[in-house]
Subunit: 110 residues, 2 copies
């Protein structure tokens, strides 16, 4: 499995915000419409819309439109990917970028 840094940082940036973390949490039990999510936060509607858009772009949530309502729920794809990314990122590998570094000032103690 190779590292997709672009997707990985997109996912991590989407997760790196208190509001979005809370959105994920209140969606953890199931689907909610945008207006119900909004009622939980002290934010304007376009701000929430922006956060939901970022989460959707990262495949952390998915939307289902019904009439004039938008129902949001978690998308397991993003969560699976970010967990896999972190695991791979922190694991040693033969093709690691560290192989490009030539020890200079200090003796390595590997």
């Amino acid at each position: 499995m190779s590292l997709d840094f672009l997707e990985g940082t997109l996912l991590l940036k989407a997760l790196a915000d208190e509001t979005r973390v809370q959105i994920i949490h209140i969606l953890s039990c199931g689907e909610l419409c945008a207006c119900d999510i909004l009622s939980y936060f002290d934010l304007k509607q376009p701000t929430l819309s922006h956060h939901l858009g970022l989460l959707e772009a990262a495949n952390l949530v998915e939307v289902r439109k019904e009439g004039r309502w938008s129902y949001y729920k978690l998308n397991s794809e993003g969560f699976t990917h970010v967990q896999a990314f972190l695991t791979t990122l922190a694991s040693p590998s033969e093709v690691c970028l560290c192989k490009q570094i030539k020890p200079s000032c200090c003796n390595e103690t590997k």
Copy 2:
């Protein structure tokens, strides 16, 4: 297991930066001194120092000082915690914040 939102977002914010993700990657095979890490990046020394400080504060890396050198390596504690945080965050729970929301405009379809 309960959710520590403060620690969780600290960890996720530390991970949400291309440079820091790359630092973690080049440390994945073992210990490196700060000057060797620096040689890999097109950054000034104080900037790298700042990134390493954030990673250390989040328990994603740890330092060992030896003479005038600082050797950095990954700290598994942060990685374990962030993976656990994400799993818990996205899992349904009896005490979820979603229970505080009273369905308003739209009929829930749970």
